[in-house]
Each structure stands twice: as C-alpha cells, then as structure tokens.
C-alpha cells in the first residue's frame, strides 16, 4: 500500500511579509502545495533602522505566528521548518526575539544567512523541476528579488559561475523613491536609472562576454502571476519571451498601481535588457518552496535531480579563480583530502556536510596568496569570511575560513580561539579534524606539482597508510612529511605512513 503522504509546513518570517505554505509530500517526486497564507507585516523598517522591534510589532508578529501554529495544528502537520530572513537577522537582539516567539507561540524559528536564504530560493527554483536542467544549460541568470536586496546567480553550461547580492530590493527601492518624492509619472525612469547603474557593474565584473539566454525570476510580486502564462505548449508554464513579458507588463502590471509589482517588473525588465536575455522563466516559487524541498530531500522523502553540492563547490572554484588560484592544484588537493576523509570516517565520525567543508577549504586554501605571499593564512581567512558562498551559513563559512587559515598557520586551541571568535565546541572540533586532514593532503603535495595522481588510503592498526603510485621523485614530500603530519597524529592519534609503489 502507498504510504500516507506527509504534511509539512514551511514558514518564512520575511522582512515585509509572513508566509506559510502547507505541503503534502507523497514521496517519489510527488509533492504539492495545499495552502498558502500570507500576512503583510513590516518588520524590515524597524529592524533595519533601530535594530529592535517595537512592542506592538512584536505583538503582531506573535499573534500571526500563533495563528499559523493553529493552522498547522488543524492540518495536523507532521513537521515544520520556520526561518527568519534579513529583518530577523539584522536585529540586535535576535536571540531574545526568537526566545520570546518560542515561549509565546511554541514555534522554533531559525535564522537564515543571506547565502543560505538565496540557496534555498535557488533550491525552490530547482524544485519547480520541469525544465530547470534544460534552461541552465544555456547562459542563465537567476534573479531573486527580495525586499532589501536582489541576488543574481550566473549559470553557464549548467554550472553555477557566481552569485552576487545587490542592494536593489523592492522595498529599499520603494523607500528611495519615497525619499526622492518621485512623481508617479517619473517612477519608471527613476527606477531604470537606479537599477541599471548597478546592473552594469555586475555585467562588467562577472558576466563579461558570456551570452545570457534566460532569466529565472524568483519574487513574491509578479512571478506568481507570470507563472500562469504559457506561451507555447512545449514551453514550461511561465516561460516567456522578452516581448511577451514587456507586453504583459504594459497591459497588466503597470495598470496595477501597487508599487511592489511595478518595481519588481521593472527590475526584471532592466535585468533582461542589461544582460541581453531573450527569455524569462517565472516558476512562481517562493522561499517556502525551497524550505520544503530542502526538508523533503534531507529526509529522503523525495530525490533531488540536481546536484546542489556541485554548485557550492563550483562557486568555491570560481572564487579561487578570481584570486588566481591554481585550478590544477586545487583539484588535486580536493581529491587527496577527500580520499583521506573517506578512509578515516571511523576516526573522525564526520558526515556529508563536513566533507563538503573540506572540499571547499581545499579549493580555497591559498586564495590569500593573491594579497600577500607571506600572510597566506590570514589573508585567505579574510577573503573567505568576506565572500559569499552560496549554500553556506555564516557559521559554516567561519569554519571553512578557519580551516583555510590553520592550514598555513599554527593551530590555535579552543580557549584562545573561543575568546576571539564565536566558534563553539562542536565547531572547534570539526575545524581541528578537517584542518588535520587538509594539512596531510598538503603534505602530499609539498611541491605543488601534483606528483601523486593516485593515492590509496587505508587504515591499518594504528597507521594510516598512504600508498602513492608514482615514478616521480618524491624526496621533497617525504622529507617534509613527518613535520607536516604532526598535527594529524595529534588530532587522530594515528601515524600516517607514506609508501611509494613504483611501477617497474
């Protein structure tokens, strides 16, 4: 018999709107939205300007969340996830607010960093399924329009090239228009000026001479309307040519004098024009869809078609590329580190997510070279800390940055580290374990010449045997090996042994 479908609620505590979607996840690929509740609430204004929420706002927030909880209960949902985005994130007293919400409503709200949020938005697009893989084969930009900012993610040949945050959110633009005191008749031309200026920078820095074919739109304002149009039967719903979109915009959206719709469609129009995209796809998804998709995949309720980890790794590679890191060395290190990680699972007990951190750290381990050859660790750390890596939370990025740093510098122990950063115990241990592996991998490539194309790693008694298969001279590696692997011994209490298998 078929399993009874699971009911899941996704809550998005957005800057200008609270929304909740209820999903029915039947397993396989079947899942559908069965309810969508939205309530306008302006958390953004108070959060961005004062950093705290007023009593009344807090009351309203809790009141609505209590109602959401009631609706969830009435559906008897099996599980839920609730996330706060930028307005919650930018509060000075986030913890206090979240605790109050927990005691007053019984809801646990987690805070998403911008990169996590955008990653979920991106997942929501992929979750729309139909056509995503085909669309991103050609040059494509995902335009994710939020209240405070927009996120542009550039794809080429189904690989994520870069993702950038630009402060052109709908409400930010609206506020700016209000400040200027723009007349309705001037709105459009003013918007164009405000938007195009920043978009052209993005184009110059990141798109360069790539040909952009499609724009994928994620927003709360027009895409849900757009997604109902189907230009040709062979196209997915919401896949429109620029002409059709501009016609629709003129006929429909511009008449609707609600500002958000106009601003959002103007953003889409400008992006298409600046990047020269001929087509647009509005799958009509929101953050809630990403939350549900992520939940369903993580809980193995549905299987993901798209490899999202590959996107994160690709993103890291592009960062490395920007700082002129050697692609070959990065790839070799990544491979070595992963071999060691996989062989020592019993020792470190870490999972898939940590494996990803290691990959990214390996890719980015010397990006600081771009700035200074003597302070590679410190500079790499700062670059990582200040570069958005889609799909990583702030805390996760911090771990990666530390791993990168300690790959070059002396390891700082917990007491000292905890004094200067927000690293907790668990994170600290992950950093230590992954640093040890990365250092060992680097030891195998001291010459930076990728002498070992094939390393077999195995755990035998108290030794980690690294069998390298090469005819090259590995004097340098061998010589430096012992000193470089001390930290590994310290962390795992296992002795790495390098064995060379020569081909005769």
């Amino acid at each position: 018999m078929k399993k009874k479908p699971k009911l899941f609620a996704a809550i998005d505590v957005g800057s200008y709107e609270l929304s909740m979607k209820i999903y029915e996840i039947a397993g396989g690929k079947e899942w559908k939205q069965i309810d969508y509740i939205r309530h306008r609430i302006d958390l953004g204004t108070e959060s961005y300007s004062r950093g705290i929420l007023s009593y009344e706002r807090m009351e309203e927030l809790c009141h609505i969340l209590r109602e959401f909880k009631g609706i969830m209960d009435s559906y008897r949902v099996d599980d839920y996830k609730a996330y706060g985005t930028s307005a919650v994130r930018e509060l000075k007293n986030t913890m206090i607010v979240l605790d109050q919400i927990r005691t007053q409503t019984g809801l646990d709200i987690e805070v998403l960093s911008n990169s996590e949020q955008r990653y979920l938005d991106y997942k929501s697009v992929a979750s729309a399924g139909y056509g995503f893989e085909e669309i991103i084969e050609k040059g494509t930009v995902i335009l994710d329009i939020g209240g405070g900012s927009i996120q542009l993610s550039l794809f080429d040949k189904d690989t994520l090239i870069t993702t950038q945050n630009i402060r052109l959110g709908v409400f930010r633009l609206k506020d700016q228009l209000n400040e200027i005191g723009a007349k309705p008749s001037h709105t459009v031309s003013l918007l164009e000026e405000m938007i195009n200026d920043q978009l052209s920078v993005f184009k110059k820095l990141h798109v360069k001479d790539r040909e952009i074919h499609n724009i994928i739109v994620v927003d709360d304002y027009v895409s849900t309307t757009l997604c109902k149009y189907r230009e040709k039967d062979s196209n997915p719903a919401g896949y429109l040519s620029r002409n059709t979109f501009e016609k629709l915009m003129e006929e429909k959206f511009m008449k609707e004098m609600t500002g958000s719709v106009i601003i959002s469609s103007q953003l889409i129009k400008c992006t298409m024009e600046t990047l020269g995209a001929g087509y647009l796809w509005a799958p009509g998804v929101t953050l809630c869809d990403g939350i549900a998709y992520d939940y369903a995949v993580n809980n193995k309720l549905i299987s993901a078609k798209h490899d999202f980890e590959q996107d994160i790794a690709a993103c890291a590679k592009n960062i490395s590329n920007r700082y002129q890191g050697s692609r070959k060395r990065g790839e070799a290190l990544e491979k070595l580190a992963i071999s060691i990680f996989d062989a020592t699972k019993k020792l470190h007990g870490l999972g898939k997510r940590e494996r990803l951190f290691l990959r990214i750290a390996a890719i980015l381990q010397d990006c600081g070279r771009y700035v200074s050859l003597t302070q590679v660790g410190e500079c790499s750390y700062h670059i990582v800390m200040n570069t958005e890596i889609i799909g990583l939370s702030h805390a996760e990025r911090g771990m990666v940055a530390n791993i990168v740093k300690f790959n070059h510098e002396e390891f700082t122990y917990y007491n000292e580290l905890a004094n200067s950063t927000a690293i907790d115990r668990d994170e600290y241990l992950i950093i230590a374990k992954l640093t040890a592996i990365l250092r060992l991998a680097c030891a195998l490539d001291s010459s930076h010449k990728q002498k070992f194309t094939n390393v077999k790693v195995s755990l035998e008694d108290n030794n980690l045997i690294l069998r390298v298969d090469t005819d090259k001279n590995i004097e340098l590696e061998k010589g430096l090996f012992d000193s470089k692997v001390k930290f590994f011994e310290e962390v795992y209490n296992v002795q790495p042994v390098l064995k060379q298998k020569r081909r005769i």
Partner: protein, 717 residues
C-alpha cells in the same frame, strides 16, 4: 466619472431616460405580488399569503429605503440617481405610489378576500362592534384571563412624557378624560398590542370558523385599563422607524457590542410612517402626528385592519386545506447515495442541487457528517442568515467540540438578522469555534463551506457553493442552487477565500472563482463584452441571466451595448430592474421576465454563449452595486456537462413560463402575457412535477431491482 458613452446612432448610454428608478421598480415588484393576491385562479389562502407579503415587504422598504432617502434629504444630498431623480423627487413619487398600492391592497382585502373567506366558512370580525352579545362575553373573558396581565397602559400628562412607541408595533391610542372632572383637558393614553400573544383570536361558533384580531378585543375592553378615566375614543395605530444602522466600524472597538447597542437604538429611530384606521378621530390623529413629528404624506389612513402581516398567521389556521396549495415535499438528491457517506458521493461527481424541489438536507448532513468524521481536519463556513434553532450551528458547535478546526464567518451586519446572529456567534464561540464577525466595511454575502479531510492519498477539500443562505427553513421556500464538489482547483480557491476572510493577503491568482468586491464586476463586464464582440463579428451572441435585482449602471450600459450589437439577451429578474426594454437603437434585443410564484425566486444563474463554448455561472451576487462593490460575493462556474444541461433546462423553463411570469414593458410597467390559445406553462409547477416524477422513478428502480428473477429452463426452439 467615466466619459459619456454613446451608441452607434449617438444615444448617450447614461441618459437618465434609459433607466428606471430602483425604488419605483421595487414598488412594481410589490405590485406584482399584490397581483397574485388578486389572481382568482390561485387558492384563496395562498392569496392571503401574498396579501400579507405585500405588507411585510412594504414595512421593510420603509424602514430601509425610505429611511435612507429621508436621511439623504435631511443631509441636503441632492445627487440624482441613474433615472435622474433627486432624493426629494424620489420620496414624492414613492409616497404617491405607496398610497396607491395600499389603497389597492385594502380594496382587494375588503371587497374580494374578506367576502371570499366568509364564503368558505371563515368569518373575520373586523370590528368588535360586530360581535354578538355571547361572543362579546367570550372575548371579554379571554381579555381578562389572557391579555390583561401582559398589557402596559400608559397615559400622558404634564408629569409623564410621551412614551416610546416601538418600531413596527401595533398600538391602541385613546383620548381619555379624568372621571368626574368636567373641566380638565382630554389626555392621550396608549397601550401596545402585545407581540407575545397571537393576534388571531378564535371565537367559538356553530359552523365554520370565526376570528377576531387581538387589537379589537383590547379596544373593546380599553376602559378596564384606565379605570379612573372616561374613554372618549380609541383607535389602533402603527409606526415605522428609520432602521438603518449607522456603525462606525473603524471606531467600534467591539463590533458585537456596538451592533447590539445599535439594534436597541433602532427602536428610537425617527418615525417615518404612521398607519391609522381611516375612522380615527381628528384630535387623536393630531396628537400622534405632532408627537411623532410625522409628515402628512407619510400617514396612511387605512380602510380596515392595520398591519395585514397578520394574514400569514391566518394562513396557518387549521383546516381550509382545499384552499391552500398542497404542501410540496422536497425530494432526496439522487446523486447522493444514502448508503454511503456524503464525501464518497461527492468524490464520484459534482452534485448540483435545485432547492426547494430537491432537499436541503444534504447540506445540513454535509456539516453534520463532517463534525463526526474522524478524517475531517477543518470546517469553514460563511453564515449570513440562519434559521432559528439551526441544525447547522449545532453541527458546527459539535465539530469544534470534537476537536476540528471550525472557522465561521457570521455576518453581524445582515440586516434585521443582527440580533439573531449575535446569539449564534456567541454560541459558536463558546463551543470553541473561531468566529469572525464579518469584514470591516464589507458585508460577507457569499455562501461557501469548505471541509478539509485528510484521506489515505492526502488532503482532499470538499466545497459547497450556493446561491442562497445556509438556512434550512428558507430553503423550503426559496428557489436556490447549490453545488458540491471536490475539484482541486475550486478547493484551492476556497482555501484562499477563507484565508482572505481571516485577514490574510489575497492570492495572486484564482483558478475558478471570482470574488466581489475584488474583480467580479470586471469579470461580468468582460463576459458581456465578449458576447458583444461575437455579435459584432457576425456570430451569435447570447446572454441569459437570472437574478433578484438588476440596477448596476455599468452592467446595464454593457447590456445596452451588447443588445445594440445584436446580442440576444433574456433576463429573469425577480425584483428591481432599472434597465428599460424596447428602446429603439438601445435595448430592442432585451427581454425582462419576472417570476412571482409560490416559491421566492432566489437563484442567480448567468449564461454566456461564448461562440458555442457555453459558460454557466452561479453566484450569490445580483447585478447591483452593493453586491458587486460592497459585499464579499462569489461567482463560480458549473462545468460538468450533465449539470450545465440541468441549468439550461431551468433557464429554458423559466423563459417559457407564461403562468407566473410578468414581462417588463417599454413603458416600465409589468404585465402578464395573454395566454389565450397558448399552452399554459408554469416553471415552478413544472419543476415540482419533474421532481415528483424523478422521485417516483427512483423508488420504482429500487422496487424493480427487488423483483426476483427465477431461473427457468431455457425454452426449446
């Protein structure tokens, strides 16, 4: 204001000459009802009922429409209506027409109905002076035992102010003089005819039945109420007050309490009509006129019994069955299998119900079963007018007690049902339902119920949408249509409707439903325009629309344009119709039918030919500005071919009706068709017959299946 639109031949569509005033059109409707009271082919007691409805309709008309026009005049508002009349002009015209209507009503009453009643054995003693001595003694005893204890006589003198005369109550006014004091002035005294007692007092008699009205008995005994006074004269009177509630919803902190307060205040509204017997002494009338500050044109001098709504009670008297229409029993809905739960029947197919020919029971059962069903998660419903002791309310309360999430929107602003609805709202809240008292600035008139069920293969939503109220009592008297469906697209929309009613944002798109006041009107205008375009392109354009009232100017203009383009338009409008038919170059292709039958026509059906891809819609909304702009209404499509065939049949029969249908004439009057040489056809009768046949057939089916089929030896051939 939109620019003036003109037709091909240059007619200005906004020309007031092309419209009828809505109040006068409404009075035409009341005149049509009176026409039924006059119709000799109708059983006598049914005619009494129509006579009574004329009165109750007029009461409401005064309390609401006349009151609001008077408010406009008082506020110095002079804007003209679509027929080009100022409020003052409208009031003047109304006064003339209502006086004529009432005169005609009483002439029917006195000259035709009373003698006819006597003929069939019911004697109505219209004045206590006509009682025999024996009968007099009987009623006097009745007075002392039953009436006297509940009376509150009030005299007016310098120390006691003029008392509050309650809205719509019947009273007896008297001029009295203190006994033994020849010098003093006469004083005014009054007593309310108690509403708690039956106004119809039967008098024993040898053959047939005899009745007298309560006020006559009181008048006869009035001296017993004012023992220290001599009664100079006494006469019944009745007043009507301004009953329009004015509530500042933004200011009102607790709408429930505010409405309660206002309902009480309704008793104090300005008097706007005074009904007295024409025999009332001048002096008594003068006192009433002065104290109540009533204008001459608002005084109705009546030849006979004041307040004929009492004949609804007379109708209820036992016996005289041969003078009443046989009671029609609604038949069970054939698509609902009583052997299984109602949800299973709905899963099989969409179910259309035509009340009162078909039973309203399934709607009540729908809620009842949902309340008990283990898989039901939530029940959501809008309630506008519910019956006394409503089984639906009881079922909702039970559901909440069973742990279902029950959300109910109780429209507290439903006129004249406010008090009633407050009681229900409280009861539901107590049971644990989530009660919404309507929306600020809007009346929620839509009729929708959503039941969310968690089934084996996931969430399934069952929706009931209807043209009429969730009122099991009126469902036996009003013709309405209801649809059960578990169509996913409609289910999604229904969820969105309730989210909106709970104060959440509107979804960006709707699948099937159109909502007023958001964009139902645009939808209607677009549908009408589409037919116009078909006609312009040489194709057939066709609109049939059935509703209670038509007075929205934008819609009428669109209909004029459509007619002008060659669209054939048949309208079945029971009540107000501001559109004019037969204006050359404007509305030659439009007909307006008005069916006034035994059942109150209440369903709203909208048909558009759409170049052959016919579309049928049902709605809670009329084509009135208040429906389209100030109320929450739902328009829903009916798509299943077997159901649209039924809707077509209903419209077709109603257009064929030549028994109960009146036709709007180019001069704005209504008249029945000349039936000579024609087959007489009444749509309501036809629907009743069809229902009976259908029921018989279904019973036969069951019997047939129970015939044993014996196995026999195959015949050798």
């Amino acid at each position: 204001m939109a620019a003036n639109k003109t037709t091909k031949v240059g007619l200005n569509l906004r020309n007031p000459d092309y419209y009828l005033n809505r109040e006068l059109s409404w009075l035409s409707f009341d005149e049509r009802i009176l026409g039924e009271a006059k119709d000799k082919t109708i059983p006598l007691f049914e005619r009494l009922k129509f006579l009574s409805i004329v009165s109750s309709n007029l009461d409401e008309f005064y309390m609401v429409r006349v009151a609001s026009l008077k408010d406009m005049v008082d506020a110095g508002y002079t804007k003209k209506d679509i027929a080009g009349m100022t409020p003052k002009q409208q009031l003047a015209a109304i006064s003339v027409r209502t006086h004529e209507l009432v005169a005609s009503q009483y002439s029917t009453y006195n000259r035709t109905l009373i003698p006819a009643l006597t003929e069939v054995g019911l004697t109505v003693v219209r004045s206590h002076e006509e009682l025999t001595e024996k009968e007099g003694a009987f009623v006097d005893e009745y007075f002392e035992e039953n009436i006297y204890p509940v009376l509150t006589p009030m005299a007016v003198d310098s120390s006691r102010p003029f008392p509050l005369i309650r809205n719509k109550s019947l009273n007896i006014g008297a001029l009295v003089k203190r006994k033994g004091d020849k010098k003093t002035e006469t004083e005014f005294a009054t007593v309310q005819v108690p509403g708690v007692l039956n106004r119809v007092v039967p008098i024993p008699c040898e053959s047939g039945k005899k009745i007298i009205f309560l006020e006559e008995v009181i008048e006869r005994n009035i001296s017993k109420l004012f023992l220290n006074y001599d009664i100079i004269c006494a006469s019944p009177f009745r007043i009507m007050r301004n009953a329009d509630l004015s509530i500042d919803e933004d200011e009102a902190e607790d709408l429930l309490k505010e409405i309660e307060k206002q309902v009480k205040r309704r008793q104090w509204g300005k008097a706007i009509r005074l009904e007295v017997q024409d025999s009332i002494p001048k002096k008594l009338l003068k006192i009433l006129t002065e104290e109540l500050q009533i204008e001459d044109e608002d005084i109705f001098k009546i030849d006979g019994t004041v307040d004929l709504t009492v004949f609804m009670k007379v109708y209820g008297l036992e016996g005289f069955e041969e003078h009443k229409n046989g009671k029609f029993n609604p038949i069970p809905v054939s698509d609902i299998n009583p052997e299984e739960d109602i949800f299973a029947s709905i899963r099989k197919k969409d179910i259309l119900m035509h009340h009162p020919y078909e039973s309203f029971e399934p709607v009540v059962n729908f809620i009842k079963e949902a309340a008990k069903d283990e898989d039901v998660l939530a029940i959501k419903q809008t309630l506008y007018r519910v019956s006394g002791n409503s089984p639906i309310i009881a079922a909702l309360a039970e559901a909440a007690e069973n742990g279902k999430q029950v959300s109910v929107l109780v429209e507290l602003k439903a006129r004249f049902d406010e008090e009633n609805n407050i009681v229900w709202a409280r009861k539901l809240e107590k049971a644990g339902c989530h009660v919404i008292y309507g929306l600020v600035g809007l009346k929620t008139h839509s009729k929708i119920t959503l039941v969310v069920r968690r089934e084996e293969d996931g969430i399934r939503r069952y929706v009931h949408l209807a043209t009429g109220n969730y009122n099991d009592a009126t469902a036996k008297l009003y013709t309405d249509l209801g649809l059960f469906t578990c169509n996913e697209a409609i289910g999604e929309d229904a969820t969105a409707v309730f989210n909106m009613l709970s104060g959440y944002s509107e979804p960006e798109g709707w699948n099937k439903l159109s909502l007023a006041p958001l964009w139902m009107k645009d939808k209607f205008l677009a549908l009408i325009k589409r037919e116009t375009e078909y006609a312009v392109n040489g194709e057939e354009g066709r609109i049939i629309a059935k509703m209670n009232s038509l007075c929205d100017q934008d819609i009428i203009m669109a209909l004029y344009e459509a007619s002008n383009a060659g669209v054939k338009i048949d309208l079945i409008v029971r009540g107000i119709c501001c559109l004019k038919v037969g204006i050359p170059g404007l509305s030659e292709n439009i007909t307006v039918h008005s069916i006034v039958g035994n059942f109150l026509e209440h369903s709203r059906i909208y048909y558009f030919r759409n170049g052959g891809n016919e579309e049928y819609y049902l709605s809670s909304a009329d084509w009135m500005p208040r429906n389209l702009e100030r109320r929450v209404e739902i328009l829903f499509p009916v798509e299943a071919p077997d159901l649209t065939a039924r809707l077509w049949h209903i419209l077709d029969c109603e257009l064929k009706d030549n028994l109960k249908a009146y036709f709007l004439m180019p001069d704005g009057t209504y008249s029945k068709i000349d039936r000579r040489g024609k087959v007489i056809f009444g749509s309501q009768d036809a629907f009743c017959e069809e229902a009976k046949e259908k029921f018989k057939a279904s019973v036969k089916d069951v019997k047939n299946t129970r015939v044993f089929v014996p196995e026999t030896k195959p015949s050798e051939g």
